[in-house]
């Protein structure tokens, strides 16, 4: 699509649509009929106990897992199945992993340049310029030449965010981005994510950080045993949950609903 046609037909409001999504691992039902929507510019937080299917849903979104049932629409189009088209779709989504998954043999800036140079085919100069700007954005311009081994967890995760942003994605997927971090570095990562949300980025965030979800999310989805038990604005979920199980879950975390 060229810029002109984009301007003529407004982009669809709903970016991601999940219709009765199912996923099995052998006999284990990871997702048993999940339906939800993510609108453009929205921050959607997926919360719930470990193993409840949140991360699986995120990986299905990026076609790292295939669906066993239901439909997943990205910009109104079902996720393709052939590798080449899947790659095209993935280029439009950024993903941030729990364990950062920075490439250890590349410096911070080389990590950020990896996508633009190998996938988008930008020149060395262009990708470097883009990477430098993004490292400034995540506050790590002084660490550009460091290898991941010489960065703290929080710094590594911020580089990972910059690496995903370097593809100029339409959606950012965060898979428990702060779970592997030392408590003192969680804040710096959440601040970067908050700034991203304020810029209007569409974000799907699997998280255990309830304060972040409460403060930043437009929409919160509560998972349990592969199902959505409740979804709504944060005020509803955190202050006046309808479902007893939501209240139980939040209560276990020490959250007083």
């Amino acid at each position: 699509m060229t810029a002109a046609t984009l301007a003529m037909q407004p982009a669809p409001r709903v970016v991601l649509q999940y219709r009765d999504v199912r996923k099995l691992y052998g006999d284990f039902v990871a997702l048993s009929g999940v339906s939800m929507e993510v609108e453009r510019g929205q921050v959607v937080c997926l919360i719930g106990p470990s193993g409840s299917g949140k991360s699986t849903l995120l990986r299905c979104t990026n076609a790292l897992e295939t669906l066993d049932g239901g439909e997943l629409l990205f910009d109104g189009v079902p996720l393709p199945r052939d590798p080449a088209s899947i790659r095209k779709v993935r280029q439009r989504m950024g993903m941030v992993f729990q364990n950062f998954e920075l490439f250890p043999h590349k410096t911070a800036i080389q990590n950020v340049m990896m996508g633009p140079s190998t996938v988008l085919g930008l020149s060395e100069q262009q990708s470097r310029a883009r990477a430098e700007a993004l490292l400034v954005k995540v506050g790590l311009s002084d660490k550009a030449g460091n290898y991941p081994a010489n960065l703290s967890g929080g710094q590594q995760q911020r580089v990972a965010i910059a690496r995903a942003l370097a593809m100029e994605p339409e959606v950012m997927l965060f898979d428990e981005p702060t779970s592997a971090l030392d408590p003192e570095t969680i804040g710096e990562v959440l601040n970067v994510m908050k700034a991203l949300a304020d810029d209007g980025m569409t974000m799907v965030v699997v998280t255990h950080e309830m304060t972040f979800a409460r403060r930043v999310a437009d929409h919160v989805v509560v998972f349990e045993s592969g199902q959505i038990i409740e979804q709504g604005p944060p005020a509803q979920i955190f202050d006046a949950p309808i479902q007893a199980r939501t209240r139980d879950f939040l209560g276990h975390l020490g959250w007083d609903a």
Partner: protein
């Protein structure tokens, strides 16, 4: 006990030539087994199913059969079957490389498999293709992780060349045996040669270890 080092001193030129052959053969075996082993290792990991079966059979067979047996078979039996007569040096180069390549292939495979699956996922999430991920993410890390194992295989390559004495390749071991036989001073000759081998192999092992310690972080995801 009286030691008589005259025979060693008198034949130092003869032994030095042997050392050259040893080093040449070691280098040749290291290079050939690295190339062949890398091809086998990659094909065993990414190749079609039928090829994998064949290669696993080759690898496991080389792990089961002594290198001496491979060597004498290729030197004595192969010419009898095919009619090609390879000189001892080339037979040794071929046999030792053929044997060692199986070990190289195993190291390559283990190195590739030791790269965490999350790294591949991170590449996929960026929209990279399979070959791009292998070339830019998996292999560079795997090579770093394989270094210690390659170091032991390199020293094994040097050690294996001594076995070529059995088919009369005029390398250090063979010449030591000859000098020992003529001079009636085998203890001195073999002890000297032992030190020479140690002085070659030990630094190789150490150097690889030291380099690895400095770059290990490049492979640690």
């Amino acid at each position: 006990m009286d030691f008589n080092y005259d025979p060693v001193l008198q034949s130092w030129r003869f032994l030095l030539d042997g050392l050259q052959v040893t080093l040449l053969l070691s280098g040749g075996v290291a290079a050939c087994s690295l190339i062949l082993g890398t091809l086998v290792g990659l094909a065993r990991r990414y190749g079609p199913q039928w090829l994998r079966v064949v290669l696993v059979f080759y690898i496991d067979s080389m792990r089961a059969i002594p290198v001496l047996v491979v060597l004498v078979w290729i030197y004595f039996a192969l010419p009898a079957i095919t009619g090609w007569n390879l000189p001892p040096f080339w037979s040794a180069l071929f046999a030792l490389s053929f044997h060692l390549a199986a070990y190289v292939a195993e190291v390559i495979r283990a190195g590739i498999e030791s790269v965490r699956p999350g790294q591949v996922r991170a590449g996929l999430a960026l929209g990279m293709s399979g070959p791009q991920i292998v070339r830019k993410i998996v292999l560079p890390q795997a090579i770093v992780r394989m270094m210690p194992a390659f170091g032991s295989l390199l020293s094994l390559a040097i050690k294996d060349t001594a076995i070529a004495a059995v088919i009369a390749v005029p390398e250090l071991m063979r010449r030591a045996d000859a000098v020992a036989g003529q001079s009636y001073a085998p203890v001195e000759v073999f002890s000297t040669v032992m030190i020479i081998y140690f002085l070659i192999i030990f630094p190789v092992t150490r150097a690889v270890d030291m380099v690895y310690k400095r770059i290990a972080f490049l492979g640690r995801s």
